[in-house]
């Protein structure tokens, strides 16, 4: 069985793209989901280490998307297009 190198993969957050598509600012999003701008900024810049389900539900509801639209699995050195 091939060993899988988990450290070569990371979760990438597409919050920036979704905000642009919805023409929404981080501040607007923060007010609507009840998460601080600081934490949303961490999420947007892929600095967050974990996300609560409640935060994920709120974000998906406000951005009208699925969790898979917001978070994807990518190779650690892969940059977003």
């Amino acid at each position: 069985m091939d060993s899988y190198n988990f450290e070569s993969m990371q979760i990438h957050c597409h919050l920036n793209e979704l905000l642009e598509a919805k023409d929404m600012t981080l501040t607007d999003l923060s007010a609507r989901v009840g998460v601080s701008v600081v934490n949303l900024s961490k999420l947007k810049n892929n600095h967050a280490k974990a996300i609560r389900f409640s935060t994920l539900v709120a974000l998906c509801h406000v951005l009208d998307c699925e969790p898979g639209d917001l978070l994807t699995l990518q190779k650690a050195d892969q940059t977003s297009a």
Binding site: N39, A50, I51, R52
Partner: protein
């Protein structure tokens, strides 16, 4: 001054009062060259350095030194925790170390009390005193308070350790 800083004023003041009492204790003993123990009241003139034979003097001196050093260590530990709180670093490894040190310092004080008790008994025998208020710490509720306070310090230490772990777990959690 933030509310957090205002809240710290009282604990810092209380720790400062504790330090003052320690200084009073040291200057009282060394300045008057007289030990202040349970036996002191039973001896006219008190337990002066000059009046004590070598054996009891050694025990009482050891008790005095151990008590002073351990109380100084405890005061340092408590003050160090307060400084960490002021810097917003209560939940840190340094805080747990300082709280542990404060707790062990208090245990060290009990060792000093033990030496002092032995010194009192030794001195009483040498001076021919048979009736005195010995063991007052054991015979009343003071020791209960002492042990409870020491326990509280270790509980605080455990709480800080747990909080450090929790903070590490939620670091980066959104």
């Amino acid at each position: 001054m933030t509310n957090a800083h205002k809240d710290l004023g009282t604990p810092f003041f209380i720790a400062g009062i504790g330090s003052l009492f320690l200084i009073f204790y040291i200057t009282n003993v060394l300045g008057n060259r007289r030990f202040v123990t349970d036996l002191s009241a039973a001896i006219p003139g008190g337990l002066t350095f000059d009046a004590l034979p070598t054996g009891p003097f050694a025990y009482l001196l050891a008790g005095f030194i151990v008590k002073v050093v351990s109380l100084a260590v405890s005061i340092w530990g408590v003050t160090a925790v307060l400084y960490r709180i002021r810097r917003g670093e209560l939940f840190s490894r340094q805080s747990t170390k300082a709280a542990s040190i404060a707790g062990y310092g208090l245990l060290g004080w009990l060792v000093g009390v033990l030496f002092e008790g032995m010194g009192d008994n030794f001195a009483a025998r040498h001076l021919g005193i048979e009736q005195w208020a010995s063991g007052s710490l054991i015979n009343n509720s003071t020791m209960v308070i002492v042990w409870l306070l020491i326990t509280l310090v270790f509980i605080v230490d455990m709480a800080i350790k747990r909080a450090v772990k929790l903070e590490e777990d939620v670091d980066g959690l959104v």
